[in-house]
C-alpha cells in the first residue's frame, strides 16, 4: 500500500530537482542529468500507476500546501492507467531526449538543449504524472495549468530558429487557456452545486443537482477536455503546436498529454457525474466520429511528416472518444456489460496509441534531426541511410494502421466488437448511431492504411529526393534505445494484450461500470466474456510466420539451382534511368484521395502559366500551387478572429490620446455606476 505514495514522492522530488539542474548545470552535463532525472520521474510515476492498476489505491490530503483549499490527492485504477501510460512514455522519451540533446551530428540549432527548456522538461513530465492523481477541483486545475504552461514553454523552445514556432505558440496559448476558462467555469458550477470541491464531495453531491445544471457542467467540461485531446472543432492548436515543438516534446504531448483530455472526460462524465442522458454521449460520439474522419483525411493530405502524425493523433483520439461515448450510451440504457467493453476498448486504444505515437514522433524527430527536413516530398531513401530509424518507424506505422500483427488492431477490434454487439441494445438511437460509428471506424482505418503507407513508403523508401535526405546519418545510440523501448512496448501490447486484462477491468470499474469483466483471458488471447468473440494475436503472428517460412522454403527449393540474386536496372521505358524527380511524392500519392474527398476538403489550386513573350502558345514557366487548408478552422475560426480584429480596430477610436477624454470616461463611468446603484437599491 505504501508503494504509491513513495513512488509519487520520488517522482516529485526528481522532477523538482530537475528544474534547477537544468538551469544551473553547464551544457556538457545538462542533457545527461536532466534526462536521467526525467526518466526517473517517468519510472517512479509509472510504478505508481502500475501499482494502482494492480488493485491498490491511495488517497491523501495535505491541507497546508495550498492556501484556502488544500491539496487532495487520490490514486485509483483509472488514474493508475493514465499514470502508467504517461510514466512509460516519459521514461522512454527521456532516454531518447538524452541522445537528442547530447548526441553528435545534429541539424540546425536545438532549442531543447537550452537552459530554459531543460529546466521546464522535468516539470512538464511531472505534471503529466500528477494530473491524474489530483482529487479536488483546485488541485486538478492547478496541475492542469502547470501542464499547460510548461508544455507551452517547451513548444516555444525553438522560437529563435523559426518564426512559425511563435505563431504556433500563440495559437496553443490562446486555445489551451480558452479550454481552461471553460473547465474552470464548468468545475466551479459543479462544485458550487455539489457543495464541496473534493472529488469525493462532487461524487456524493451529484445526485442532488438538477439535470440542466448537470448538462451544463458536462458540456462545459467535455468541450474543454476534448479540446485538450485535439478533437474537432477545437483542434486547431494541435496541427500547429505538434510540428513546431521539438520532437521530444511532440512525443510527450501526443502520447501523454492529449490522453489526459480523455482522462478528464471519463473522470468527470462517467465517474463523478455518474453518467447521464443519451444526448451527452451522442454529442461526444458526434465529436469523436467527426474528428476521426476529418483528422485522418487531413493526415492523408499532409506532406509535413509531423503534421501528418499530429492529425493522426486527432483521429485516434476521435476513435477513443467514440468508444467513451458508446460506453456512456450503453450505460444509459442499462447495459453495463457492453458499456464496460466499449470503455475498455477505448482505454486500451489510449494505451496503444501512446506507444506507437511516441515511437512515430521519435522516429520523425530522428529524421528531422538528421536532415532538417519535415517535408515528405523532399525526403526518401532513408531506409538505406538510417536503417534502424526506418525499421522503428515501420513498427510504429504497423501499430497505427490497425492491421495485425500491430497493436492498434487489438483495440480497434475490441471497439468494433463493442459497436457490433451494441446493436443488441434495443432502441432506434443505437440502431442508427452504431452502424454509423462502425462506418467511421472502418473508413478511418482504411484511410490510416493509406496515410502510413505514404509516410513510410514516400518518406523512407526509394531514392532521396533532396540533398538533405541524401546526406542523412543514423541517429545517436540513445535515441535508438529510447525508440527501441517504445517498440518493445508496442510489440508486447500487440502480442500479449491479455496481460492488461485485469488492470483494464479495474480501470473500467473505477470509471463507474462496476460488476463487469469485459476483457478476460490469460495473456495469450483476448476473450470477451459478455459477447462471444476471441482474438489470439500471437496465433495470427505464428500462423503468418509459419506461412512465410513455408513459402520461402518452397520457393528456395524450386529455385535451388539459381540461388544468386542479380541486380538489374529499373524499367525505364527505354528513356534512360529514372531519376528521383520522377518518383511519386507525398503530394502525388495523396492526389487520388484528394479528388475523391474533394467536396469535404475543398483544396485550393492555382495554375499560373507564363507564355514566352513572342508567342502565346509557347510556355516559358508554369507555376502550380496546391494547398489543402483546414476547412473547419477556416470556416469556424476566421470569422471569430475577423470579428475580434474589427472590434479592436474600432475600439482604437475611443483612445484618441487626449487626457481630457480619458478623464471624461472616468467621470461618465462613475456617474453611471452611481445611477445604477441608486436605481438598483
Amino acid at each position: 500500500m505504501s508503494l504509491i505514495p513513495a513512488a509519487l514522492a520520488t517522482a516529485t522530488a526528481l522532477g523538482v530537482a530537475g528544474a534547477p539542474a537544468g538551469l544551473v548545470l553547464p551544457q556538457r552535463v545538462r542533457g545527461w542529468v536532466v534526462g536521467v532525472l526525467t526518466a526517473g520521474v517517468g519510472v517512479a510515476g509509472g510504478t505508481a500507476g502500475v501499482a494502482a492498476l494492480g488493485g491498490s489505491g491511495w488517497s491523501a490530503e495535505v491541507p497546508g500546501l495550498l492556501p484556502l483549499a488544500g491539496t487532495y490527492l487520490a490514486v485509483d485504477a483509472l488514474s493508475g492507467l493514465f499514470m502508467a501510460v504517461a510514466g512509460a512514455v516519459v521514461a522512454a522519451v527521456a532516454v531518447y531526449g538524452i541522445g537528442y540533446v547530447t548526441g553528435h551530428g545534429s541539424h540546425g540549432s536545438h532549442g531543447l538543449g537550452s537552459r530554459g527548456a531543460q529546466a521546464v522538461l522535468p516539470l512538464f513530465a511531472l505534471s503529466l504524472l500528477l494530473v491524474p492523481a489530483a482529487a479536488s477541483v483546485s488541485t486538478f486545475l492547478l496541475l492542469w495549468e502547470l501542464m499547460a504552461l510548461t508544455s507551452l514553454l517547451l513548444v516555444l523552445a525553438e522560437h529563435r530558429a523559426r518564426p512559425a514556432v511563435r505563431q504556433a505558440g500563440v495559437w496553443y496559448a490562446v486555445m489551451t487557456h480558452l479550454g481552461l476558462v471553460l473547465l474552470l467555469a464548468g468545475l466551479m458550477v459543479y462544485a458550487a452545486q455539489a457543495g464541496g470541491e473534493t472529488f469525493a464531495a462532487l461524487r456524493a453531491g451529484t445526485t442532488g443537482i438538477s439535470p440542466t445544471m448537470r448538462g451544463l457542467v458536462f458540456v462545459l467540461t467535455a468541450v474543454a477536455f476534448t479540446s485538450k485531446a485535439g478533437l474537432v472543432p477545437l483542434h486547431a492548436w494541435l496541427p500547429r503546436a505538434h510540428p513546431e515543438a521539438p520532437s521530444v516534446v511532440s512525443a510527450l504531448m501526443s502520447a501523454a498529454m492529449v490522453n489526459l483530455g480523455i482522462y478528464g472526460l471519463v473522470r468527470v462524465g462517467s465517474d463523478l457525474l455518474g453518467g447521464g442522458p443519451a444526448w451527452w454521449w451522442l454529442l461526444v460520439m458526434a465529436m469523436g466520429g467527426l474528428s476521426a474522419v476529418y483528422g485522418i483525411l487531413q493526415a492523408a493530405m499532409a506532406s509535413d511528416l509531423k503534421r501528418l502524425l499530429a492529425y493522426s493523433t486527432s483521429e485516434n483520439m476521435g476513435l477513443v472518444v467514440l468508444g467513451v461515448g458508446a460506453a456512456g450510451l450503453f450505460a444509459h440504457v442499462g447495459n453495463e456489460a457492453l458499456a464496460g467493453l466499449a470503455l475498455a476498448a477505448a482505454l486500451l486504444h489510449v494505451v496503444n496509441h501512446a506507444a506507437f505515437k511516441a515511437l512515430l514522433f521519435g522516429a520523425a524527430g530522428s529524421v528531422l534531426r538528421a536532415t532538417g527536413e519535415r517535408n515528405l516530398d523532399l525526403l526518401g531513401g532513408l531506409r538505406a541511410r538510417m536503417p534502424f530509424t526506418a525499421g522503428l518507424f515501420a513498427v510504429g506505422a504497423l501499430g497505427a494502421v490497425a492491421l495485425p500483427p500491430g497493436n492498434g488492431f487489438i483495440s480497434e477490434w475490441l471497439l468494433l466488437q463493442s459497436m457490433i454487439h451494441g446493436l443488441e441494445v434495443p432502441g432506434v438511437t443505437t440502431a442508427i448511431v452504431l452502424p454509423l460509428a462502425v462506418a467511421v471506424i472502418a473508413l478511418s482505418a482504411g484511410l490510416a492504411a493509406a496515410v502510413f503507407v505514404k509516410a513510410l513508403g514516400v518518406g523512407f523508401f526509394a531514392q532521396p529526393r533532396g540533398e538533405q535526405a541524401a546526406a542523412a546519418k543514423e541517429s545517436p545510440l540513445l535515441m535508438l534505445v529510447g525508440m527501441g523501448l517504445l517498440a518493445a512496448l508496442c510489440a508486447a501490447l500487440a502480442l500479449v494484450p491479455g496481460l492488461l486484462g485485469e488492470g483494464l477491468d479495474r480501470t473500467v470499474a473505477a470509471a463507474g461500470h462496476t460488476g463487469t469483466r469485459p476483457v478476460a483471458g490469460g495473456g495469450l488471447r483476448v476473450r470477451l466474456e459478455e459477447v462471444s468473440a476471441t482474438l489470439s494475436p500471437l496465433w495470427v503472428l505464428a500462423a503468418l510466420v509459419v506461412a512465410l517460412g513455408a513459402v520461402m522454403g518452397t520457393v528456395g527449393w524450386a529455385t535451388r539451382r539459381r540461388q544468386r540474386r542479380t541486380q538489374a536496372r529499373l524499367w525505364d521505358c527505354g528513356g534512360g534511368a529514372p531519376t528521383p524527380r520522377m518518383a511519386y511524392t507525398a503530394t502525388s500519392f495523396a492526389e487520388p484521395l484528394q479528388r475523391v474527398f474533394d467536396d469535404m476538403l475543398a483544396p485550393e489550386q492555382d495554375v499560373d502559366v507564363t507564355p514566352v513573350r513572342e508567342s502565346a502558345y509557347l510556355v516559358e514557366r508554369v507555376e502550380f500551387r496546391n494547398r489543402v487548408p483546414d476547412r473547419i478552422e477556416h470556416r469556424l475560426y476566421q470569422p471569430v478572429l475577423d470579428l475580434l480584429a474589427a472590434a479592436g480596430q474600432s475600439a482604437r477610436r475611443l483612445a484618441g490620446g487626449s487626457v481630457h477624454t480619458y478623464l471624461g470616461y472616468g467621470f461618465v463611468g462613475l456617474i453611471t455606476l452611481l445611477v445604477v446603484l441608486v436605481v438598483g437599491w
Binding site: I420, G457, A462, S532, A550, A568, A583
Partner: protein
C-alpha cells in the same frame, strides 16, 4: 483432437493452393472462348509459374527489403486466409480464430505490403500503382466491414464458422433483404479487392489504366511468380468466402464424417468454379471504369451495406429471432 477437422484443413489448403492457378486458367479460358479465341488452356497459369520459377531472381537497383519481402508477405497472408476461411467445414480446429474482422485485416495487410513494395522501387509506375491501390483499399475497407456487420447481426458473432453454420441451418437469413443487400455489397467489394473489372483490369498493360499491374511492374522471375500466385490465391479464397457466406449448402457442420468433408470439398470446388466462370463471362461485357468513377461504385456498395445493416435491424424480427 479431431482428425477429421485437421483433414478438412489440410484438404482445404491443398485444394486452394492447387486450384488457385486453375481457377485463373478457367476464367481466362472462358473469356477467350467468349471472345472467339482458342485460349491457352486451363493449365496455363501453372505453366507460367513453372516458367517463372526457372528464371533467375532479379533485384532492381535501388530497391530494399520491402520490395523483396512483399511477395512473400502477400502469399503468406493469403495462405493464412486459406486456413481460416471455412470453405468445407465449420468444425475445423481453427474455428475459434476465424474472426471475420481478422480476415479483412489480413487481406489489407497483403495489399499494404504490395503497395509499400511499389513505392520502394522509386519509379513513377510503382508510386502510381501504390497510390491508386491504397485509395481503392481505403474505400473498400468500410464496405467490407459494414457487410461483415450486417452478416454478424443474425449470428450474434463476427466469428466466420458461426455465421456460416447459422446460415446453413437457417437459409431464410440469406433471402432476407439484409442478406441480399449484404451479398451485393460484398460482391462489389470482392471485385475491387481482387482487382477485377470494372475496378481494375488484370490483363492491362496500359499506363493510364493500370492499378495492380503498375505496382508490380518491376517484379520478375520467382518474385513475379509469387505475386501472381498470391493474387490468384486471394481471388480463390474470396470467391470461396462469398460461396460459403451466401451459398453455405453442403458445408460440413459436424466434425464426424470424412465423407461429408469430401462432399463439401467437391461442392465448394464446383461453387467457386461456377462463380469464376460467371465472373469471367460478365467481364467480357464490362468495360473498366475510369479510376475516378470507381469511388462512386464503391460508395454505392457502401450504401448497400449500410442499408443491409439497417434492414437487418428493422426487419430482423422475422428472420433473426
Amino acid at each position: 483432437m479431431n482428425p477429421v477437422g485437421y483433414a478438412a484443413i489440410v484438404l482445404q489448403v491443398g485444394t486452394v493452393v492447387a486450384g488457385a492457378p486453375l481457377l485463373t486458367g478457367l476464367m481466362r479460358q472462358t473469356r477467350a472462348r467468349l471472345e472467339g479465341r482458342a485460349g491457352a488452356g486451363v493449365l496455363q497459369p501453372w505453366r507460367d509459374v513453372r516458367k517463372l520459377l526457372r528464371k533467375e531472381p532479379i533485384t532492381p537497383v535501388g530497391t530494399g527489403p520491402a520490395f523483396r519481402w512483399a511477395p512473400l508477405v502477400l502469399v503468406a497472408t493469403s495462405l493464412v486466409l486459406a486456413v481460416l476461411v471455412p470453405l468445407i467445414s465449420t468444425e475445423s480446429p481453427v474455428r475459434g480464430r476465424a474472426d471475420l474482422i481478422v480476415v479483412v485485416a489480413l487481406l489489407a495487410l497483403g495489399t499494404v505490403a504490395l503497395a509499400l513494395a511499389g513505392l520502394d522501387t522509386g519509379t513513377a509506375f510503382g508510386g502510381m500503382g501504390a497510390s491508386r491501390e491504397m485509395t481503392i483499399a481505403a474505400l473498400v475497407e468500410p464496405t467490407i466491414l459494414m457487410a461483415v456487420f450486417a452478416l454478424s447481426i443474425p449470428a450474434g458473432s463476427t466469428n466466420l464458422p458461426v455465421i456460416v453454420a447459422g446460415a446453413a441451418d437457417e437459409p431464410a437469413r440469406l433471402t432476407s433483404p439484409a442478406g441480399l443487400l449484404a451479398i451485393a455489397a460484398l460482391s462489389v467489394a470482392v471485385l475491387a479487392e481482387t482487382g477485377r473489372l470494372p475496378v481494375d483490369n488484370p490483363s492491362t498493360h496500359l499506363e493510364l489504366t493500370m492499378v495492380h499491374e503498375a505496382m508490380v511492374l518491376e517484379y520478375a522471375g520467382p518474385d513475379l511468380a509469387l505475386v501472381e500466385f498470391g493474387a490468384q490465391l486471394r481471388l480463390t479464397v474470396l470467391l470461396g468466402l462469398l460461396a460459403s457466406l451466401f451459398a453455405p449448402w453442403g458445408i460440413a457442420t459436424s466434425a464426424s464424417s470424412l465423407a461429408a468433408v469430401l462432399l463439401a470439398l467437391l461442392l465448394v470446388v464446383l461453387k467457386v468454379a461456377v462463380l469464376g466462370t460467371v465472373l469471367a463471362a460478365a467481364e467480357v461485357f464490362w468495360a473498366k471504369l475510369r479510376l475516378f468513377r470507381v469511388p462512386e461504385l464503391l460508395a454505392g456498395s457502401f450504401l448497400l451495406a449500410l442499408l443491409a445493416v439497417t434492414a437487418s435491424y428493422f426487419l430482423g424480427g422475422e428472420g433473426g429471432q
